[in-house]
C-alpha cells in the first residue's frame, strides 16, 4: 500500500492505529468499527480478497485475544493485515465478516473451534475440525498439547472399544529444532531426553 493511501486511511478513520509489522502494512482496528472499516476496504480500496482469519492468544495479558485478518488486493497486488482486540477475555467476541467476504465463513468457524472466538452474526458458527460436543478450544495457551481426557461422542463405538480421548505421551516433547547451526545438529529434539538410550551412553 502506498504511503498516500496509508495516511489517507489513518486520517479518515481516527480509530485506526498503525501496528508493528516486519512485512506488510498492519493496522489496529477496534472491534466495533471492524465492519465499517472492512466495508470501505473492500468497496473503495479494492481489497477484494480475504486470505486469512485467525487469532492470537496472549495468555495472561489483557486483552487476551486478538483477531487477525489478512486482506489482499488483486487489483493493486498488495497485502494488508488488520488486527482487532477482543474486549472480553472470558467470552471473546468479534463481528463476523461473512456478510462482506464469504471466504470468512470457514475461517471463522475454524478460529471459533480452535481459539474460541465468537463471531457475532455468523450464519453457522459451529465447530469445523473437532466434533460438536468437544468441550475445549485446543489452540488456546492454557490447553496442553497432549490433550485432556474427554469422552468420545459415538456411544456405540465407545461401548465396543472403551475408547476415550486421553493425553498423548509426550516423551519430553514437544520436539523443536534449535534453529541455527548445521542441519545434522539441529534436528528437532525434546527438552527432556532422559528416555532416549542414546543420551545414556
Amino acid at each position: 500500500m502506498s504511503e498516500i493511501e496509508k495516511s489517507e486511511l489513518l486520517d479518515r478513520f481516527t480509530y485506526l492505529s498503525e501496528r508493528e509489522s516486519s512485512d506488510h502494512l498492519a493496522l489496529n482496528c477496534p472491534a466495533e468499527q471492524l465492519i465499517e472499516f472492512c466495508t470501505v476496504l473492500r468497496d473503495e480500496f479494492q481489497f477484494d480478497l480475504l486470505l486469512d482469519v485467525t487469532a492470537i492468544d496472549w495468555d495472561v495479558a489483557t486483552p487476551r485475544f486478538t483477531g487477525v485478518y489478512h486482506f489482499y488486493s488483486t487489483v493493486k497486488q498488495m497485502y494488508l493485515r488488520v488486527a482487532s482486540d477482543c474486549v472480553d477475555n472470558i467470552k471473546p467476541t468479534l463481528p463476523s465478516l461473512v456478510p462482506l467476504y464469504s471466504a470468512a465463513d470457514w475461517h471463522e468457524r475454524e478460529t471459533y473451534d480452535l481459539m474460541g472466538i465468537h463471531y457475532e452474526g455468523h450464519p453457522n458458527l459451529k465447530r469445523i475440525l473437532m466434533w460438536d460436543s468437544y468441550p475445549y478450544h485446543p489452540l488456546r495457551k492454557d490447553f496442553p498439547l497432549a490433550g485432556i481426557e474427554t469422552p468420545l461422542p459415538a456411544e456405540d463405538v465407545v461401548e465396543q472399544t472403551n475408547l476415550q480421548v486421553s493425553a498423548a505421551p509426550m516423551m519430553g516433547g514437544p520436539f523443536v529444532s534449535s534453529g541455527d547451526g548445521k542441519m545434522s545438529q539441529t534436528e528437532p529434539k525434546a527438552k527432556d531426553e532422559s528416555w532416549n538410550e542414546e543420551k545414556g551412553k
Binding site: W131, L145, A154, V157, Q160, L163, A168, M171
Partner: protein, 179 residues
C-alpha cells in the same frame, strides 16, 4: 537323477487331491485377499504405488481394492487416525464380513507417529484389532508388500474350519490406558 516318489499318482487314483480342509480354505483366502484402502494421509499414496505396475500387488492376488467394506476382507489403515475419524474406522471395520484382517500401515496408524497431540489417536489398535504393523513414515511399497506377505503367512495358519463351524472368534483390541 533319482526317480522321485510321488505321493499321489493321478493314473492310479484319478483327479483327486487329498488334503486338509484348513489348508484348502486358507490357501484360497490367502491368495485372494481383497483389501479395503482406508487411506487417511500420505501413506495412501504409497498404497496406491503398491497397486501400480512397478510394485504390482496383484502378484499376490490382492489387487482387488474394494471401497465397500462389505466386499473387502483386509482393511489397510494407511494414515493418521484422528479421534474424530476413529469412530468411522471402527464402524467400517464392523461392516466387513468375517473373516477380516487389519494392517496398520505406517507410524501414524501403528502408534500415532509424530502426532503426539490432542487430536490424534495413538495407534489404531485401540479401535480395531491389528494383525500386522508396518513401520515407516510412510513405508515404501515393498514394506507394505512384505506386511501383506506376512499377513498371508498368518492366514495360512488359521483354524478356518473350526471358525466356520463355531461362532467366529472376535479379535481383541488393545485395552491399556494411555498415560
Amino acid at each position: 537323477m533319482n526317480k522321485q516318489t510321488v505321493a499321489y499318482d493321478s493314473k492310479v487314483e484319478g483327479e483327486v487331491i487329498v488334503t486338509r480342509a484348513d489348508a484348502v480354505i486358507n490357501w484360497i483366502r490367502k491368495n485372494s485377499v481383497w483389501p479395503m484402502p482406508m487411506g487417511l494421509a500420505c501413506c495412501a499414496i504409497e498404497l496406491m504405488a503398491a497397486g501400480g505396475s512397478r510394485f504390482d500387488i496383484s502378484r499376490f492376488g490382492m489387487e482387488v481394492m474394494r471401497f465397500s467394506p462389505r466386499q473387502a476382507d483386509c482393511m489397510i489403515v494407511a494414515g493418521t487416525v484422528t479421534y474424530k475419524m476413529a469412530e468411522v474406522v471402527r464402524r467400517i471395520y464392523e461392516q466387513m464380513g468375517d473373516p477380516k484382517w487389519v494392517v496398520a500401515m505406517g507410524a501414524c496408524a501403528s502408534s500415532g507417529g509424530m502426532y503426539r497431540s490432542y487430536a490424534t489417536l495413538q495407534g489404531v489398535d485401540r479401535v480395531v484389532p491389528v494383525d500386522v504393523y508396518v513401520s515407516g513414515c510412510p513405508p515404501r511399497p515393498e514394506a507394505l508388500l512384505d506386511a501383506m506377505i506376512k499377513l498371508q503367512e498368518k492366514i495360512k495358519n488359521e483354524n478356518s474350519v473350526k471358525n466356520l463351524l463355531t461362532k467366529h472368534p472376535i479379535k481383541k483390541i488393545r485395552k491399556d490406558a494411555v498415560s
